[in-house]
């Protein structure tokens, strides 16, 4: 793979990651967000595969299949289960769309500012894409604190996690396969647990608005 093609493919992958993140903030429908999350998982797997081919590392290709299976298929599938029964799948945000998109712009700028000392002098195009990963982490935080539905919070958490995975791959080519497997398994179980809690919340509270969760306080 030529260096120019490699740089372009990395840029395409990273661009897809950022685009899906921004669209997740813009769209309030839970189902649309889940589809975007699946797309983002595929984009992340693509990015890892490109790096694997470029560095001719079989291990990274194996990891990219793992990422595709987990973030592209399994997690969105877990989230999308029972969504037909929810009925209304919209979510109200604490921010209006304009303010939310403005915050995304600010957070992305912030991501570039804070990650400059780390990657500013790097020559590898993959490391130049690291700020995108940081931006995803920050946008994930934004979703986590501004969305009201339990499931949307879960999506925010997954976006944050995708961002961390993106940084991990871009900056260090990922950690070892075994560790990657452990990390993925942990993530999958956490999502299943939160999904179960969402179901219990619906049966106990009648809805999944996290504003309901305010019985415990001092």
């Amino acid at each position: 793979m030529s260096e120019i093609l490699y740089a372009q493919l990395i840029a395409v992958g990273a661009g897809a990651l950022l685009l899906t993140s921004v669209l997740m903030v813009w769209r309030h429908s839970v189902l649309a967000s889940i589809r975007l999350l699946a797309t983002q998982g595929v984009a992340l797997a693509f990015l890892v595969a490109v790096m694997g081919i470029h560095e001719a590392e079989a291990e990274l290709l194996a990891v990219s299949i793992l990422v595709l299976a987990l973030k592209g298929v399994a997690l969105p599938w877990v989230l999308a289960r029972n969504s037909a029964t929810i009925g209304s799948t919209g979510d109200s945000s604490r921010l209006n769309p304009t303010a939310a998109l403005m915050s995304v712009v600010l957070l992305t700028t912030l991501a570039y500012v804070v990650s400059w000392p780390l990657v500013g002098t790097a020559t590898d195009p993959a490391e130049h894409a690291v700020p995108i990963g940081i931006a995803m982490v920050l946008i994930g935080f934004l979703l986590l604190v501004t969305r009201r539905r339990a499931r949307s919070q879960l999506i925010g958490f997954l976006l944050l996690d995708n961002g961390i995975a993106a940084v991990a791959f871009l900056i260090s080519g990922g950690v070892s396969v075994l560790l990657e497997l452990g990390v993925s398994l942990d993530l999958l179980v956490v999502v299943v647990i939160l999904h179960v809690f969402t179901g219990r919340m619906r049966s106990k509270f009648g809805q999944t608005d996290v504003d309901q969760l305010r019985e415990l306080h001092d």
Partner: protein
């Protein structure tokens, strides 16, 4: 000797599988006790090996028991034993189909903590600490009430986000090691100065990792899940989470600190931990004064004690033996207190402090235990928390942190006053206010039963009371553990 490393990891899995798959009541009832005993025995075996100068390793160095790991494993086992044994229900008092799930999860919880302290690999440690969140999620939500569901949701979301941030930090450590030419996640190697790690990377990595693990350690400002989760979980789970899971997270911070200290010097982490420690003390002080629920009171007291331990960690090697002793003392006492709180909740039916009055005359069996436990927690000698606190403050004073220690001391005094007032109002108080109460107390039915096994609590109190005076095995072990952190072993 290295095969001993596998015992505390594999036994919990076997016990968990057996209690989930087979329907044998004694195993389900005793699963937590069995696993705790195994972990404790493995810990003691490893401590003996370590004091003889060995450092057992296995799995290509991924599992490693230096003095600190062996000590932490012993603490996990000891606190686990007190929580599970003290929290044993009477035979036949099982809650049906959930008991298998409960037994399996509590075994896995203990196994995950064992892996966290035995792994010489930041990644494996991360996976293990995340696994503790997974194992405890359903344990916190075990009662399936609205409140426990709320607590469990907040706990899992905040815990997972925190731990995800820690992962980002660990990845940056890895990236730094790649730039230095030796890709590794072993802290033994990362903490060695011959790997010329990039200070910029290490600074950001260390800050993120500590921020993440501080979430699990219950340090302010990432503590907000803690009072909810610890007050809603069943008593043995609260005991384990407050008594030892927080310390395991602090252990992770200590390991991270050993890397950043080697690369950046002590000032960087000292600043971070001092801020976290003082904030924790301030928040605990503010919320303990007007606390109305005795389980939440214990939870906030955990935030306070973690704050003091963080300050000790900030001081560095001079205070570390005291911090490690603190972990054991606080773990045993807090586990006992949560167990007693669980019993008070069962017999009184309320966790409001205002509704529990004159316990000492009505239920002396529980009240005496509660009084001893609270005295130890408040830091009365001869209990080890007293000596640990004094050591930390003196060491801090000697190493130029006088202002920090002075502020901490003031906050601790406020907390002391608040806790004393709350305990006194539970134990003494006026019994005549409540009509329902006077009906119960007009007959001479003073309830001197301890409503559960008394021996584990007595053992915990005795160990905490004498341990600070045993210098030969304990003192040398703690010194060796401190040396292990400094990379001199």
């Amino acid at each position: 000797m290295s095969s001993v490393l596998w015992i505390p990891l594999l036994t919990p899995i076997v016990v968990a599988a057996l209690s989930a798959l087979t329907n044998w009541p004694p195993l389900r009832r005793l699963a937590g006790v069995i696993v705790s005993v195994i972990v404790l025995l493995s810990g003691v075996t490893l401590v003996i090996a370590v004091t003889q100068g060995q450092v057992p390793t296995s799995a290509g160095g991924t599992l490693r028991a230096d003095a600190l790991s062996a000590y932490m494993l012993t603490v996990v086992g000891a606190v686990g034993l007190v929580s599970n044994w003290g929290g044993l229900k009477e035979r036949g008092a099982d809650d049906g189909k959930n008991s298998g799930q409960y037994a399996a999860l509590i075994s896995l919880f203990l196994g995950a903590m064992s892996l966290a302290v035995l792994a010489d690999n930041l990644g494996a440690m991360w996976v293990a600490i995340e696994a503790t969140t997974i194992a405890t999620a359903f344990l916190v939500g075990h009662h399936r009430t609205r409140r426990s569901l709320e607590a469990a949701w907040k706990y899992v979301i905040l815990g997972s986000v925190g731990i995800a941030i820690a992962f980002l930090g660990i990845v940056l450590f890895y990236a730094a090691s790649i730039e230095a030419g030796t890709p590794t996640l072993s802290w033994v190697e990362l903490g060695n100065n011959y790997l010329a790690l990039d200070p910029t990377f290490v600074k950001i990595a260390g800050a993120l990792a500590v921020l993440g693990f501080a979430t699990k350690a219950g340090l302010a400002p990432m503590h907000s899940w803690l009072p909810d989760a610890h007050s809603q979980a069943p008593a043995p789970v609260s005991g384990l989470m407050s008594g030892v899971l927080l310390s395991v997270a602090l252990y992770a911070i200590l390991r991270i600190q050993s890397i950043t200290d080697a690369v950046l010097g002590v000032e960087f982490m000292r600043t971070l931990l001092s801020i976290g420690g003082l904030l924790s003390l301030a928040i605990a002080a503010a919320l303990l004064i007007r606390q109305r629920d005795y389980k939440r009171m214990l939870a906030y007291s955990s935030i306070e004690h973690m704050g003091v331990m963080a300050l000790g960690a900030a001081v560095g090697p001079a205070a570390l033996p005291a911090v490690l002793l603190y972990m054991l003392g606080h773990g045993l006492i807090k586990a006992s207190l949560f167990v007693i709180a669980g019993r008070i909740l069962t017999v009184e039916g309320t966790s409001r402090i205002a509704d529990v009055r004159s316990l000492l005359t009505r239920r002396p069996g529980l009240a005496v235990l509660w009084l001893i436990g609270m005295a130890a927690l408040l830091g009365f000698p001869p209990f080890s928390i007293f000596f640990s606190t004094v050591d930390i403050i003196l060491a801090g004073w000697a190493s130029g942190m006088a202002v920090v220690m002075a502020v901490a001391l003031v906050l601790m005094l406020i907390i002391f006053a608040g806790l004393t007032r709350l305990t006194a109002s539970m134990l003494f108080g006026s019994a005549g206010n409540d009509p329902a109460d006077s009906i119960g107390s007009d007959s001479p039915s003073t309830d001197s039963s301890s409503h559960g096994p008394r021996l584990p609590l007595v053992l915990a109190f005795v160990v905490t009371a004498v341990i600070a005076f045993i210098s030969t095995p304990i003192g040398t072990l703690l010194a060796a553990a401190t040396a292990a952190l400094a990379g001199t072993q």
